[in-house]
Symmetry: C2
Subunit: 558 residues, 2 copies
Amino acid sequence: MPNTIIDPPVLEPGTLRVIPIGGLGEIGRNMTCFEIDGKILIVDCGVLFPEEHQPGVDLILPDFTSIKDRLDDIVGVVLTHGHEDHIGAVPYLLKLRKDIPLIGSGLTLALIEAKLKEHRIVPYTLPVKEGQIEALGPFDLEFVAVNHSIPDALAVFIDTDAGTVLVTGDFKMDQLPLDGRLTDLRAFARLGEEGVDLFLVDSTNADVPGFTPLERSIGPVLDQVIAKSERRVIVASFSSHVHRVQQVLDAAHAHGRRVAFLGRSMVRNMGIAADLGYLNVPEGLLIDYKKAKDLPEDKIVYMSTGSQGEPMAVLSRMANLDHAIEPGPGDTVILASSLIPGNENAVYRVIDGLTKLGANVVHKGNAKVHVSGHAAAGELLYCYNILQPKNVLPVHGEYRHLVANQKLAIDSGVPAQNTFIGEDGIVIDLKDGVAKVVGQLDVGLVYVDGSTVGEITDADLKDRRILAEEGFISVIVVVDSKTGHIISGPEVHAKGFAEDDKVFADIKPKVAKALAEAAENGVRDTHALSQVIRRTVGRWVNTSFRRRPMIVPLVIEA
Amino acid sequence: MPNTIIDPPVLEPGTLRVIPIGGLGEIGRNMTCFEIDGKILIVDCGVLFPEEHQPGVDLILPDFTSIKDRLDDIVGVVLTHGHEDHIGAVPYLLKLRKDIPLIGSGLTLALIEAKLKEHRIVPYTLPVKEGQIEALGPFDLEFVAVNHSIPDALAVFIDTDAGTVLVTGDFKMDQLPLDGRLTDLRAFARLGEEGVDLFLVDSTNADVPGFTPLERSIGPVLDQVIAKSERRVIVASFSSHVHRVQQVLDAAHAHGRRVAFLGRSMVRNMGIAADLGYLNVPEGLLIDYKKAKDLPEDKIVYMSTGSQGEPMAVLSRMANLDHAIEPGPGDTVILASSLIPGNENAVYRVIDGLTKLGANVVHKGNAKVHVSGHAAAGELLYCYNILQPKNVLPVHGEYRHLVANQKLAIDSGVPAQNTFIGEDGIVIDLKDGVAKVVGQLDVGLVYVDGSTVGEITDADLKDRRILAEEGFISVIVVVDSKTGHIISGPEVHAKGFAEDDKVFADIKPKVAKALAEAAENGVRDTHALSQVIRRTVGRWVNTSFRRRPMIVPLVIEA
C-alpha cells in the first residue's frame, strides 16, 4: 500500500514546514526536516538496519532527494543522541556537503566524530548542553535533557515565527536515573505553558502498557549473578549503553573482579565515555583482555559486544570457539540486552552454542537483566498531560506504535483531528498554532551495500530473494548466426539448485531439440532463442521438481 | 561443533536401544526409534520448519538412513498427537514402505489420514485410546492421556524385556482443561511405582519458570473483545488448535455472531474435529464465508489461518488487501496464537498492515489471548516427583531447553549421571534399569524443496545465501581452442548485483586483456582461463564496490 504522492504547495513565507523523511512506519533512519523562510533545519540523520527480506543490504539510509538540491539552505543538523538510528547516516549526508554544522551534546558529538573519522571527514560542530539556547537562522533552539539508554540525550524545542515544535528524540522517564540526569519535566511544563504547537514524540514503546522499570533495578541482578559465579563472567550488551556497562563495572568491582572490554566498538565507545566523564572507571579496574588470561578465573569480567547474535561480533565467535576466549563449564554469560525482533533465531543460536560449551547463560528470558530505553504508555501520558501540546505527530515507530501513541494523545485530551499519523515523507505545515497535512513526498529506501549507495534497487533485492529461495540454472549455447544451428552447447550450470549436475543430462537434448525447431521455423534473434530456452527449461524444472529457479539463458552468435 | 560419530556396538539380544533421530537440539522433526530383539518401534515422525539461513527449503525431515535398510523390522509408528512436528514426515516414511502400521488416537489418525490422502497413500492404522494396552512384537504399549494444545494427545509407556520407557510426547498439565481430559497423573503415579527405567520428556518450556496458565483463561478475554467489537471480528490461530477455536465459537455464539472458517487447513481440520466430536458446534452457528458478507457486520466472526504471518495464508493476504474479505476501520483482528521465534518480523508486518487499514489488532503483546501448549518448569517438577524415573532423556527442545529440563530432573532427585543430554542420533542402550550412551549416529538434515527430498545440500544452501547476499556476475567468452583468442565476448550478465549494467563497461576490456595475456603465456585449458576471469572480476568488484558477488565464469571453446 504505497502512499499516494501529493505535491505540497509552494511554501509561503512565515509558514513552518515539517517533513519527517525517516522513522515513521519503521524503527530507524530517523530524520526530520524543518523549513521556514528558505532555511532548513534537520533533526537527526540515522540509519535503518535491514530485515531478512533485504538480503545483503548493509544499511538503509533516509532518502535525501528532497534536500539534495537545497544543501546550502541547511543551517544545521541537530543530533538528539548518539545511537546509530539517529546519527548513522550523517557521513552520507556530509558527503554531499561537508560543512553542514552538527549540533549535539558532548557525548553525541564525540560518537559521531569517531564515526566520521572512519569516513575521513572532520565535521563542523557546535556542542550544546541542556538548558542552552541557540539561534540557527530563523530557528531559535532550546535543548532539554531527556533520559534514554545512552547518556547525554537531548530533546529540542524549536521556536519559529510560525509556531513552536518540541522534538523528544528517543527518551524515557526513569525517575531514578544512574547519573541523576532526569528527563526535564520542569522544562516540559514551562514549554507547555508557553505553548507547544506541534509535538514530535517517540512512539517505540507506546503500545507497552505501564512504565519502563528503572535502569538501576538491573544492578542488583548483575551483582547477584556475578557473586554466584565461580569462574569467568562474560557480559554482552550494546556498546553505547554506558549506564548498563557502568553497572557491570560496579558489580565486578564489588566482587574483586577486573574488567576487560571486548569488541572494537565497545573498546572505542567506552574509551570515549570514560574520557568525557560519562563512565566512572575505578582505578586499576580495567585490564587488556590479552593480559586477563593470567588472572584467576574468578577475578575477571569480560564486557563484550554481540548481544544481538551478530555473526561477526565477539559473542557469536566465542560460541563458535572462534575467539581467543573460549567459554567452558562453570563460566557465566549474561546477555544484558534487549532482543530486537528479527534477531531471535541468531540470539538463540548463540545461547545454545554457549550452553553446549557448558556456560550458564543468563538473559532477559530468565532474569531481569534488561530494561528498555523508551517511554512506555504510562510515561507518555505524563508527558502529554504536562505539555498539553496543540498538535501531535507520533514519530520513531512502526505503524502500530504510531497509532498506539496517537490514542494516548487523544486519551489525554488532544483533539483527534490535531493528531497526525503519517509515513515517511508526510508534509505538515504549521502557522499560528494550526498544523495541516499538505502533501506526501515520494520517499524511498536507499540501500547501502559495500561501498555503493542507492545502486541496489528493490528489483535487485527481488532477484536476490529468488536466487536465495531457488538458486539459478544458466544455459549457454553458441549458435551459427546464419543457420541458427548450435555450434557449441547447450552447457548447463547451476548454483543453489542441486548437489549433482547429473540431473541436467535430461534437459540438454530437450533444449537442443527446441532450438533446432525454432531455427527451422526461421527464428534467428538471440532474444527469441533465449525465450525458447527459458520456456523449455522452466517447464521441465517445474514439472520434474516442482521448483522455480531463476533461469538465465544465454545465446551467443558466432 | 558437529558431534563425534561413534558407531554403537552390535545390539545384544534382550537389550533395548533408544535412538532419537530428531527433536534433540531443535524444536521439530520429532522421531525416536526403539529396537529390541531385531524389531523396531518408532514414536512420532515429524517435520522441522526451516530458518532464515535455509532459504527455499520447504520442510526438513528426520534422517531415515539408520532405518532405511531395516524397514521390514518396523512393527509400527506411534503418533503421540496430530501436530506437524510429530506427524509431518510420515508420508515420506510411508513412501519407503506403505504398510507400516500407524498407531494413534482418533483425532491424530484422522489428521494424518487427511495428510496422506494428499500424497495418495491409504495407511494401515490402529486406533487406540488412553488406558488401552497393545502388544507390537516385543513392545508392550500402554497409552496415557496427556493434555496439549491439540485434543486427544497420548503419552506412551513402552514395556520390554530390557526395561520400561515412558515417552510424554508434547504435553502440559492444564488442571481445568476445556474437555476435562487431564494429563493422567494417576497413571503416571502407577507407572512410576511399577518403575520407569527411562523417561523421555518434553523440554519445550523447561526454561520457563512457573506454570502454564489455563487454556480457559483465554475465553473471557475473547468474550470481552468480541463484546466490545462494533463491526467484524477476525480471529487467527493455529488450524489444529481445537480448544482455542472452541472458545472463539462459544464467544461468538454468546454474542449472537455466526462463524465462518477461512483457510484450507482451518476448514479441513475443524471439519474433522467436528465430525469426530472434538469440536462442539452449536446448530446454525457456521456459515460459508461467501454468504457471511450478507450478514450485518456485527453478526460475524471469521476464524482464520495465518497467525504466524505466513505470506500465503489468509491473514497476510487480508493485510495486503489480496483477499475477498478486506478489513477496515472498526473491524477487530485477534491473533490468538503464539509468536514462534523467527516469525516476528512477518507477524509485525501483518499487524502493521491491518492497523493501517484501520483495524484494531489484539495480540498476545497487548492482551492475554494465548497460552502455551507445553509444561513449564513447575509442571515438569510435579511430573518428576510423581514418576521418580530411574533415567531421564530430555527431548523436544533446543539445547538450552534440554539442559534446563535436565536441571529440573536433577533438582527433583534423579542422579545427575542418570540424566542424558544428547543430540539427534544419540544411541542409548537400556538393560536391567541401567541406561548407557553407547554411540552417536551421523544424522543429517534432510531438506524437502518442491518435489525433491534430500537433493538440496548444505553446500547448495551456502550458495543460495551467497546469491542472496550478493547476487552473481556471469562472464562468458568464446575462445578459439587453438590460439586461445577470443572469438566472442566477454559478455557480462548479473542478477541481484546492480540496477544498471553500465557498471560492466569498465571490466570487459580488463577481462579481455587478462585472457589475452594468459593466451600469450600458452594457457589453453578452459578451467584455467575461467580462473583468470574469476580473479580479474573478483578483484575489480571488491576494489570498486567492496562487494563479493558470486562470479560465474564460462569459457566456451569453438
